[in-house]
Symmetry: C2
Subunit: 454 residues, 2 copies
């Protein structure tokens, strides 16, 4: 056993000072979101009933980089910079010439990448005099992150948790409550959107978003907070990729392939966008792989159309790949990936051929996760297990090709609250729910009447 | 908000190269363990049926430091060095002039300090040609750590899990199984010791140890592995305190008070022993506080006597504070602190006045844990919550005294598998089981007939 470098550590003064705003790098004018009533482009004022102006300005910023407030960097220091590790044991198990690196965001208090944006959103709302944030959560990662962030800035936090996750992951609820949040099972009786979806008791992210937006729109002192999809959320996550780039430089390598899992897109964006900027600028040739669940294959099977972000149609229409805003994905354990749409920024990159997408079945993802855990120790969340599956496939392809490719993937969180899913997998009880083409066709027929995208 | 340093990070080449063997620092000859049958001092050969010689030699080593094998340091790199943080937000909430630092071991794959020794034990057994390790686990921290370590060195792992924890923490079992281990609820039907304790269905560490030792003694290819108490286990944990000392130096401070929770003593030893060496050598004057649960107050209420390490009386007799080897502590959530005895090394330091001990009720510990979580983010395990309670008390005492004391405590693990306990605490349902003086008297009457200790 030789002295091999495994972990690349940065000190807290190497936390990035700015976020990377990829909006300015994309060719052409960005496609605007449209008002759900008028179908006219949405301006900052349209968003002000539910978002603070600080975040709205980040959402539409035309600056190539946006400065991180000092108070946010102070909080980031609690867990950032996060480690980058080389998976030497996995490489040996796969007998591959590939070098596999992973950026691990599970060291945050909430256990995922989500606090990177939750802290900013809590800070900006507190600065704006808001007293309470309402939000939705799927697997519980986002709700936990926002509960944590609100506890630091003295805000109340109200979380609508997707029913299937609420039932599967009671300890995620306890975690949010430990940080002082209030948690409701969605669909709930508390909102019109919840009551209208009583027929979907397992819930969905789309329904839960409708509930939280409804609550925020109805109270003066309450704003809404979204954990993915929007430009400003992707922006905040770019601390991940900037750190990873610095750490890859310490390792003396640059990735040939960057891989992340995709639910709403912010995890993928956070890792990939700093590298995408290099590619769009002509400074690098990197392959980007977005890994999604076969049960909710937005990027690989969806239509590129204007659609609502939520089920009830309260949000602006966004240009994205969509499975239809009222599509309710099967209750796979990767709750954070059960979303009918994706970040417009990421969808634009897929549409433009910069990012490739692949869909994986639940059992394949868990098999990869168990192999990873037995080599590298960390038990991954079900969501990044899709990225691990993609990374293993790429490493095996490198072995086929006999090429020492450099693979970087995002390990966005641990699976400490997902062990019932591991239990099901290990005992052969885990299902591979099918995406239904018929459901899809029905959902697309109910797409809102909006301009087509060229 | 000024640019305040929060986190002190070391790189992987700063992982210690040696362990600190405090055995040689203690005044006088060490009190030997005694054979359970003959009451004669136990020699290395007596231990060889259940331990590999590499660990036995560490157990009795007279070297002041012991080199860490390169293969072990390679594994440590997966998560070590662990971070040292200054709890600036907690300091502000307490309005104290004290500086509070904590060393966080929860970043290990198993979520606690336990892998520091599990990895060594798996390595030394694999080197000795052993195929399987048997062990017990209380809260599941130790079983998880050994399951993880065995997966890295290709060993089978069989875990006897204390019944009350097995029922309270099903996901700890899933975690061990994910790493490939086999888990039995203790007391089990598989061993004579288990069958003899069917009347104690909640189990205890003492019973589970008896079961694992019985299995290891009965199979040629199987050894036993203990997660605390023994000298070599405390030895392995001293990577914690050595890193902490280097990190405190980066902060330009030295601790006035070092605090750790105590179950079997290895967590406390790991953090404190490198600092104790300084004190015993006359180079520092530091106060040491051992925090234990009021429901199992070994150091504060136990008798200093020779006693068995397990319930059935299979292990050597060890000189220690004990509540009686067949005392079954109430099922508090800090399962890792439910042990009737403590490390002989630590007990000697308590006896000698170098270390002070304090006992805390379960609700007080959880109140401290919730305050900590809402300031610092991390949700602590129930065990280190006792250390947090002690640290908060010391910080408030420093405020009383108007002195800027420097406090260092060990945050030995996270509480991701203990959220049902937080749930109980937050809803006012958590009990404060009483230690019964009557139980104690009865247990002491059943102490083995062994030489008294001066």
């Amino acid at each position: 056993m030789s002295e091999e470098r495994v972990k690349y550590t940065l000190s807290e003064d190497q936390i990035p000072t700015h976020w990377v705003n990829l909006l300015v790098d994309l060719p052409g004018d960005p496609l605007p979101p449209l008002h759900p009533g008028t179908l006219q482009p949405v301006g900052p004022d349209d968003l002000s009933p539910i978002f603070p102006m600080g975040l709205i300005m980040q959402e539409v910023s035309s600056e190539p980089q946006v400065e991180i407030p000092e108070a946010v960097r102070e909080v980031y220091k609690l867990w950032r910079p996060t480690p980058l590790l080389r998976a030497r044991r996995l490489e040996r198990a796969l007998d591959t010439p590939a070098h596999i690196y992973y950026k691990y965001e599970g060291v945050s208090p909430a256990g995922s990448h989500k606090p990177n944006t939750a802290v900013v959103q809590a800070y900006e709302n507190a600065q704006a005099g808001i007293r309470r944030l309402a939000t939705e959560t799927g697997a519980g990662q986002w709700g936990s992150a926002l509960a944590f962030a609100c506890s630091l800035f003295g805000l109340e936090c109200e979380v609508f948790m997707v029913g299937s996750s609420y039932d599967q992951k009671p300890y995620r609820r306890s975690m949010m409550e430990t940080w002082g949040a209030t948690v409701h099972r969605s669909p709930s009786e508390l909102t019109a959107a919840g009551r209208a979806n009583a027929a979907h008791p397992t819930g969905s992210l789309g329904i839960a978003i409708s509930e939280a937006v409804e609550v925020a729109a109805g109270r003066e002192d309450t704003n809404y907070s979204l954990g993915s999809v929007l430009n400003h959320v992707c922006l905040h996550q770019t601390v991940i990729g900037q750190e990873a780039a610095a750490q890859m430089a310490l390792a003396g390598e640059a990735p040939n392939i960057v891989i992340g899992c995709v639910g709403g897109g912010s995890n993928f964006a956070g890792l990939a966008f700093p590298f995408v900027r290099e590619v769009l600028g002509g400074a690098a040739r990197t392959k980007f792989l977005a890994a999604e669940p076969a049960a909710c294959p937005t990027l690989t099977r969806g239509a590129y159309r204007y659609d609502f972000g939520d089920t009830a149609g309260l949000t602006p229409l966004m240009p994205m790949y969509t499975l239809g805003h009222d599509f309710v994905p099967p209750p796979v354990h990767a709750g954070g990936l059960r979303y009918h749409g994706d970040s417009p920024l990421l969808c634009g990159l897929v549409r433009g051929g910069v990012v490739q997408a692949r869909a994986y079945g639940q059992n394949d993802a868990f098999a990869a996760a168990v192999q990873f855990a037995r080599c590298e120790g960390i038990i991954p969340g079900p969501e990044p297990s899709h990225a691990i599956k993609a990374a293993i496939d790429e490493a095996l392809a490198a072995r086929e090709a006999g090429e020492p490719r450099v693979i970087l993937f995002g390990l966005s969180g641990h699976g400490h609250f997902d062990l019932s899913a591991y239990d099901a997998f290990l005992s052969g009880q885990l299902e591979d729910p099918e995406f239904s083409e018929a459901d899809m066709e029905a959902a697309l027929e109910r797409l809102p009447d909006a301009p087509a995208i060229a």
